[in-house]
Amino acid sequence: MKLTLKIWRQESPSAKGRLVAYPMDHVEGDMSFLELLDILNQSLIKKGEAPVAFDHDCREGICGSCGFMISGIAHGPQKLTTTCQLFMRQFKDGDTIVAEPFRSKAFPVIKDLVVDRSALDKIVQAGGFISARTGSGPDANAILIPKEKADKSMDAAACIGCGACIAACPNGSAMLFTSAKISHLGLLPQGQTERHQRALRMVSKMEELGFGACSNHGECEAVCPKGITLEFIARLNRDFLVASVVATKEAVKKV
């Protein structure tokens, strides 16, 4: 196949970016999108031009490093698929494909297709954990967890933190990401003690970092490579509401 890649080139965070077109010949269906970029980069380097910067590591769809907008869709047209697992057989001869970085106020561009997603780590640091000192856990089978609960928790825990949900959201909201972590832990008995505090802290951190509010567009769910559903946002809203009520009551008590 032959196709044209139009790629966002931006030298540095402060530089102005632009789209540059690169015609690609000999594209094979068995190549991944990133392997096509590898080929492009090899030729750019040999021509003395700067290769395209993009984040990647595992190339197996699990580390969450990769990801950019492919013709307007985070991670591209194939459902439930990260950019590194997108193979060129999903495209056809003559296609023009536009690659741009994930865009969001909370994700400044570093270079070309690379963005700074450290805000996601900060949300987790605000409360996305169970405080269990090393060595403090009881025997693992002392905590019984109904299979459905464990499975649902695992559905939420499957989030790879790639940031596609945020890039897809017209408001730049991180609700799907945050709700996945809150649901993963909140569905488990071990996660109950800190449940309300977790919801309050993570949500307020999210707002503080410049992520937008959720207005139920559902774009996030549509692009999530791991199939995280909106159901978890509903859970987060419930937890947050209960937590806020409890927090208010406690504030009143203190007066």
């Binding site: 540095s12 068995d30 640091q125 499957a158």
Partner: protein
Amino acid sequence: MTLDAKIPSGPIEKKWEKHRFDMKLVNPSNKRKYKVIVVGTGLAGGAAAASLGQLGYEVEAFCYQDSARRAHSIAAQGGINAAKNYQNDGDSIFRLFYDTVKGGDFRSREANVYRLAEVSNAIIDQCVALGVPFAREYSGYLANRSFGGAQVSRTFYARGQTGQQLLLGAYAALSREVALGSVKMYPRHEMLELVVIDGHAKGIVVRDMVTGKVSSHAADTVLLATGGYGNVFYLSTNAKGCNTTAIWRAHRKGAFFANPCYTQIHPTCIPVAGEHQSKLTLMSESLRNDGRVWVPKKAGEQRKPWEIPEDDRDYYLERKYPSYGNLAPRDISSRAAKQVCDEGRGVGPGGRGVYLDFTDSISRLGKGVIEARYGNLFEMYERITGEDPWKWPMRIYPAMHYTMGGLWVDYNLMSNLPGLHVLGEANFSDHGANRLGASALMQGLADGYFVIPYTIADYLTKVKPGTRAGVDHPAFKEAEAEVAGRMKKLLSIGGTKTVDEFHKELGQVMWEFVGMGRNEAGLKTALQKIPQIRERFWKEVLVPGSGADFNQELEKAGRVADFLEMGELLAYDALMRDESCGAHFREEHQTPDGEAMRDDEKYAYVAAWEFKGEGKAPELHKEALEFENVHLAQRSYK
């Protein structure tokens, strides 16, 4: 120099307990005065940084990815072992210990392996406490599966994403410490040099991968948990960024490199599709629980798999290893696959593949059960190959996967270089010449959660708090200058070949001559070729851009430069070890039916190599291995 492994005295099952009591404790009020550097935030480094932060040490942690959560541990699929014996099927700490020593083909240190088995149960408890959603039975109890090299069901798992869930557990614990201020996290920072002061490891030099800034970090002790060096083969199941740089730089500064030739090739990977291939994808070994491996009986078979009748199929693992069958250990399964493909019976493009067939399991258990067990793996296979594995049996082929070798460490996980501790895949300690499935995750977390938090005290109690040199010490300035000089040199060569081209060339030599089957002539060829590639690299490589900003080619160039040195040591070690053991298969030493033949008289030792300077032969130091609890025997899985 004699290597002292510092193995505690006493019976094996008492050693760890005794050692923990014998070691001095760091005075609680002194803990915050000690600074600990942890390079790597995979299972080993993440667990260590979190646990040490909790204990009150001042911790700085580094990783090259943009977040600690993305370390390569995230990619582990199959599971983690523990001797819980929840299945009541005869497991015990001693059996896990025994299986691991035997699986490693009697080339590991008994005391370390026993300790690993001993702490394995606490790991599962800790992970559950942190919220790892392991698979459960309907009763609510934890579920287990079996894995290669074991006849008991002792593997805990979280769908096909066990590594991800364990890492997210450690990352959550780490995040909590970051928020509390006990750990300072440096993502997108690559360690490029180890700093040694008066013979002790006292800091590192790192490059900020966004700004290009090179800086020094001083500490009382340095922990390397930087993973394996499998990418020396270019194509492997490792993430693209996995590298040997941290441990290689430490090796050059005096840390011994142990058993570099013990590299594991995994039998169940998706075969190479073409020239553009950039990495290989593992299909979890757990598939071998229900999939049957076969090839056609006759070479050059043209029929579609389902047209080939039973009589014309060779289920070669079941035929050769009736008691373990499709669950034979990795080294054995990989070689068996190579052998049938060498005979011209391989399937798929290029004849480098064997079938992994679920037809029987599907008819026995139903599609629903298989889908629940492996659905995500089937999807992944289809996404990558474009073939539907429900219709067409999967094709698999061995690929470079895991490195048992690494920096030499004693029982305390400290290198011969005082102050340098090495954890996880980066050390050599527990797996001997072959690692069993689901044991690397166990080892990483054992090292990080339950070993180093104790053994670090053995070193720190000998360091006076507050005596740490600052980064203005000349040793730091020297190391920074070395790093800057190296980068400048790489950027100024301005040759004609890309870094990837050299990396591929190295990989081909490694795979052909230092891969699944090794022999004297081939190893000597590799030892000729690798220095030639290295020499050309330093004359002809083309690294674009500058050192002062985000430059992925420069990062790769530094890593490949180190692989070009490390690969030579790997081949050198393989040539020296004139026996077959575990994954190290010297074709000269095999039984008539093709099994590895060890030479315990001559080679029952750990080969620890000392760097003697560029262009000089490394010096071999031997740590003799003694087997007091497991009887040395030929490994048999028949």
